[in-house]
């Protein structure tokens, strides 16, 4: 368990978050090292959210939004993909592998796909090894909790 990479998944409320829920309802097995952070849309993702996650020691980051053309806010997921590309560029300048960050698209019905994405990313990050910025596991877990609480506080009232 302690050797598994720690991954933070920024999940859109309207697709990936629901897909994660379905994956759970379907009792699908996927790595337990992923922490889900809910956003009203991946268009809410800013580059500094992604960098802050790495700064606080996560090994990998997933941004999971709606299928292209299916965004609840029309083009939030398209904007997110561009920001993810920019963040990957900055990560590579920093000296971290850009493969630690990936964007995926899926629909709210795809519980299977969510489990696949998490497994795929977990394997990809495991190959890269732990982040050289990672503090001890408890600190990272505490950071996860803080980031999730901040995100939930920020979006409180935004999702109807």
């Amino acid at each position: 368990m302690n050797d598994q990479p720690l991954i933070l998944a920024f999940c859109c409320h309207y697709c990936a978050y629901a897909a994660a829920d379905i994956a759970g309802s379907m009792r699908l097995q996927y790595p337990s090292n992923v922490r889900v952070l809910r956003l009203p849309c991946t268009g809410k993702v800013e580059i500094d959210y992604l960098l802050t996650a790495f700064e606080r020691g996560v090994d990998g980051v997933i941004v999971a939004g709606c299928l292209e053309g299916g965004c609840h806010f029309l083009e939030g997921n398209l904007r997110a993909r561009k920001r993810v590309e920019r963040a990957k560029q900055i990560l590579s300048e920093v000296g971290l592998e850009p493969e630690r960050l990936e964007m995926y698209n899926l629909s709210s019905a795809e519980g299977n796909r969510f489990a696949e994405i998490v497994t795929e990313m977990s394997e990809q990050v495991a190959k890269l090894g732990p982040s050289p910025l990672r503090p001890d596991r408890n600190t990272v877990e505490q950071n996860f909790r803080e980031m999730t609480q901040q995100a939930e506080a920020t979006i409180a009232g935004e999702i109807q």
Partner: protein
């Protein structure tokens, strides 16, 4: 506005790596609008620099961020005065004028540039800025239908077009519009094409970059002189 873009993270990291406490200072004016050195961008670069320093074993370097309204006016720099003394280096995310204004104000503090200042330009479309003005100090846009031959023509020609204009594009770069085609088209639209028949006089570059830094003085606005 003045348009700039950020330097590579490693370039900034190497400038500051020998300091222990570094303050990144953003500017809330032009470089905020061109998404290069405002509060958000300074936050992103702060995060990137902290990680980059840690990866070279300099994780103990303190990198903090703040953004002031305008770096090119001393009155706005006042806000920084007390805070800067807590650091041993400053990285300015203002334009070249901002960097130098901070350096003049804080005589004993190393001040490094976080941006590459590019040009005076406009927002062409979301995320795209284009150069429009060279700041030559002797504006002749009235002669050229409101389109500047210095910035818009790759050869800075005052009597164009040259032989490299093809289908409205410049021979220097097929994606570049020919400045003189633009001047011609606009002169036609305005019904002033005959004005372009006259030979344009050579430009007076004495108001340009020659003779050291230029000054603009408004005596009626000066105080205590």
């Amino acid at each position: 506005m003045i348009v700039a873009d950020r330097k590579n993270v490693q370039e900034i990291r190497d400038m500051i790596k020998d300091h222990d406490r570094v303050l990144l200072v953003g500017c809330g004016t032009c470089v905020t609008v061109c998404l290069a050195g405002g509060e958000r961008e300074v936050g992103i670069l702060g995060s990137a620099l902290r990680m980059a320093l840690k990866l070279i074993g300099r994780g103990n370097v303190v990198v903090d961020e703040c953004t002031i309204e305008r770096q090119c006016e001393d009155a706005f720099i006042d806000i920084l005065a007390t805070r800067v003394s807590e650091y041993d280096a400053v990285v300015s995310f203002g334009c070249g004028a901002g960097v130098q204004a901070l350096a003049e104000r804080f005589g004993k503090m190393p001040v490094y540039p976080g941006l590459n200042t590019q040009f005076i330009g406009i927002l062409e479309s979301q995320g795209v800025w284009t150069e429009k003005c060279a700041g030559c100090g002797n504006c002749r846009l009235g002669e050229f239908a409101g389109i500047c031959p210095i910035t818009r023509c790759a050869k800075h020609m005052f009597n164009g077009p040259c032989g490299g204009s093809r289908d409205g594009k410049c021979e220097v770069n097929p994606d570049l519009e020919c400045g003189w085609q633009l001047i011609y088209d606009r002169a036609c639209a305005l019904g002033i094409l005959e004005r372009l028949g006259a030979i344009a006089e050579p430009h007076d570059w004495s108001t340009g970059l020659d003779g050291g830094p230029r000054k603009v003085v408004r005596e009626d606005q000066r105080i205590n002189t």
